[in-house]
Symmetry: C2
Subunit: 416 residues, 2 copies
Amino acid sequence: MLPPTRFVSLPACARPAERSVTHPAGFRASGIVAGLKRSGRRDMGILVSDQPCVSAVTFTSNAAAAAPVRLTRDHCACERLRAVVVNSGNANVITGEQGMRDALRMRELAADGLGLPLDEVAVCSTGVMGVPLPMETIEPGVLKAAEKLSPAHGDDFAVAIRTTDRTAKHGALTIELEGGEVRMGIAAKGAGMISPNMATMLCFVTTDAIISAGDWQAMLSSAVANSFNRITVDGQESTNDTVIAFANGASGVQASSPADLESLSRSLEFALKSCAIALVADGEGSTKTVRLIVDGAQDHARAEAIARAVADSPLVKAAFYGGDPNGGRVLQSVGQVIGRSSPDGLIADVAFGGLTVVRGGEMEPLSDGQQTRLAGIMAEAEIDLSVKLAGGAGTATLFFSDLTHRYVTINAEYST
Amino acid sequence: MLPPTRFVSLPACARPAERSVTHPAGFRASGIVAGLKRSGRRDMGILVSDQPCVSAVTFTSNAAAAAPVRLTRDHCACERLRAVVVNSGNANVITGEQGMRDALRMRELAADGLGLPLDEVAVCSTGVMGVPLPMETIEPGVLKAAEKLSPAHGDDFAVAIRTTDRTAKHGALTIELEGGEVRMGIAAKGAGMISPNMATMLCFVTTDAIISAGDWQAMLSSAVANSFNRITVDGQESTNDTVIAFANGASGVQASSPADLESLSRSLEFALKSCAIALVADGEGSTKTVRLIVDGAQDHARAEAIARAVADSPLVKAAFYGGDPNGGRVLQSVGQVIGRSSPDGLIADVAFGGLTVVRGGEMEPLSDGQQTRLAGIMAEAEIDLSVKLAGGAGTATLFFSDLTHRYVTINAEYST
C-alpha cells in the first residue's frame, strides 16, 4: 500500500494493490544482504523486466553527481533501460576515477547475470560519501541478487534500497484504461536530502502499460516536477538522486488516447506524490509535514523563491517543531525574498490550517476559541500553511518538514 | 575592549581604549531599566552627541521592515542624526499603523527630552515580534533614559541594547591621524538574525573626528559590506537590522587626507568586524565560528552564492557541531549551486584549517598524523574552511556558526 496522506487523493481510475514494483506483469526483483550495512539488513537489489522496455529518467542536477549517476546518465540508453542494480550503504561519490571503474564493474556483473546489453542496465548507489565501494562485497552481492530475482520479491527490493528510512515508501496501483487494466508499482527511499551515512532520494517505477518513450518521459518529468521537486527536508540536493521508470507493455494494453494518458499520468503523479510526502514525513528527525501554498506573488518564479525561503528557514522549521504558529517568522522569510522591491512594506496574509494569524502584514487578534483551534492545528502531523500576497498571480506549493533536535543529532553525532 | 578574534588584526594606527560609544569626546549615553524585559535587565538607552553630527546609516533590506526602521529610514535626516533612542524586549514589527504611531511617539519623547529637532533622532527596537509596544512602560522609560545621560554611561547603553546576547560586543579605539588623535566607540547586539523573543542586529558607532557626510557614509557602507554583511548565523535577515554611525567632530581633528581617511576606515572596519565575528561566536546556540573562503569561482557573484550555500547548509553546520571535517557535505552544497553548468563534475579542493581533505573533487587519503592534526583543528573555537575551484577569479569570504541542539531549543522551546 502506498503511504497514506490527506494531501493527495486516489484518482478515480486507480485502485490500490499489493506488492510494489513487481505488481505489473513481467517484472522480477530481488533484495538481498550483500554485507555493506553494519546492521546486517538488506543492502542490494535488482529490478528487471522480462521483456524490452521504454524507460524514463530524472537525475540530480548537482555538479558533484556520483559515479553511478554519471554512468547511467551519460553511458546508458536511458530511453530503453530494462534493469537497475542498486546498493545501499555506500553512495560511491567523491570517489574519483576509481568510483567510475567500480560503477562500471557493478553494471557489467549485473548485465552478465541478467543476459542483457550493458547499456540497458542502470546503476544506483546510496549511503556513505567519500568511501570507495568495497568491491569484494559488491561483486558477490550482485551475483546473489541476480539469482534471487522473482515476481514475489518486490518488497525485498523496496527494503534493500532503504538507508535510515524508518517507514516504507512503496506500493502499487491497478489502473483502468479504455482497453483494459494496467498495473503500476513504485519503490522509493530517502530520509534526508543527503547525509554522510545515509543520503539521497531514489525512486523506481514500473508499469506494464504499452506507452511510447516520449509520452512516458513527458509523464515522468511532469510527475517529478509536481512531487519530488516540491519537497524539502533541509534544502540540500543530493549527489545521487535518481528516478527511473520502466514501461514494459506486458499487459498488452495500449495507453495512447488522451484519456488513457491522462489516467496513467494522474496515477503516476499520485504514486510519486504519496512517496514524496512520506519522504518528508520520514525526513531526518521530522515530526511534522507542512504543505505550504504561496499565492498572489508577482509571478511563479517569485512564488517559488518565497516558498523555498519559508520552507528552508530554520526559524520557521523550528517553530513548527515547537508547535508555534509563528506568523512573524513566516513574514520575515517572505520579506527577505521580496526585499527593497516593496518599499511600502509587506502586505501579506499568513494562515495555519486555514486560520489567519497575520492579515495585511499585521498580527490578527485571535479569540480564545481561535487560540485553542490553532493549538489543535499545530498538534497535527500534517499542517497547511498559506501565504497570500497582493502582487499578482504567481503561485507555488512545497511540502517541508520541521527542524528538530533529532535532525541535529543525526547529522552531528555520527561517525564518518 | 573589543571582542578578541584571531580573524582580524588591530590596524597600526589604532590602539584599544576603555568605554565604548562614549569614548569619543562630546557623546553621552544611558542604559536604564524601563521594565520591558521580564528579567528586569536594562532595556532602554539613549545615545546623543552634544553638538551637531554627520551621520551614516544602513538598514535591513527586508520588505517586512519594522516600524522604527521605516521611521528612521524614511522620516529622519539620516545624514545629520544626532541621537538614537533604543529599546530591547520588543521589536515593534508586524504591528501595523499602531506600530508607526508608537515609534513616532518614542521619537517625540526623546527629542523633547534632548531638546533636538524630531528628524535628528533615530529610533531602534529589538525583541519580540508582533506585539504592540507597551507605551505605558516605554514613555516613562524614554524620559528616565534622557535624565541618566552621561559620558560615563556608555557601557550601560551597550548592555541595554542586548537581548539574549551572552557576550559583550562593544569597545573603543584611539586612532592616530596626521592632525592628532581621534576616538571611536562601538556597541552592537545580535544573537540570532531574528527570533520572536530576541532578534536582530543593531550597531551604533561614534567618532569625534571631523569628516564629511559623504566620506563617512562611504566608509560605513564599505565597512558594513566587509563585516556585518559577511556573517550568517541562520541565513535569516532580520526585520530590524540597523547600523547608525555618528561623527561629531568634537576632537577638532579633520579626517580628509587620503591617509587619514584610510586610517579611519581601517579602524572602523576593524571595530565592525570584531563585533560581527563576536556576533557569530555568540549566535544562537553557536559553539564554533568558521571563516569560509571560496576562491577560483567563475566570478564574485558565483563565489558569493557558493559561500552562502555552504555557510547556510544545515548539514555542513551540523557537521561542524559534531567536530567532523566533512568534505563531502561541503562539496555537495557547492555542487548544488554549480548545478548542470559543470557537466564534467565538480573539480574542487576543500581544506579545514589549511589541511586539504578533498583534492580535485576526490577524497584525499590522510595519514594518521594528519587525522590527529585535523581533529585538533576541528576542536578549535575558530576554524578556517577553504573551497578552491578552478573556474576563474571569483572570491568570497563569510563567517558562520554551527547548528546545534541549543539552536533548536532556543527557537522551538520558547513561548510566544
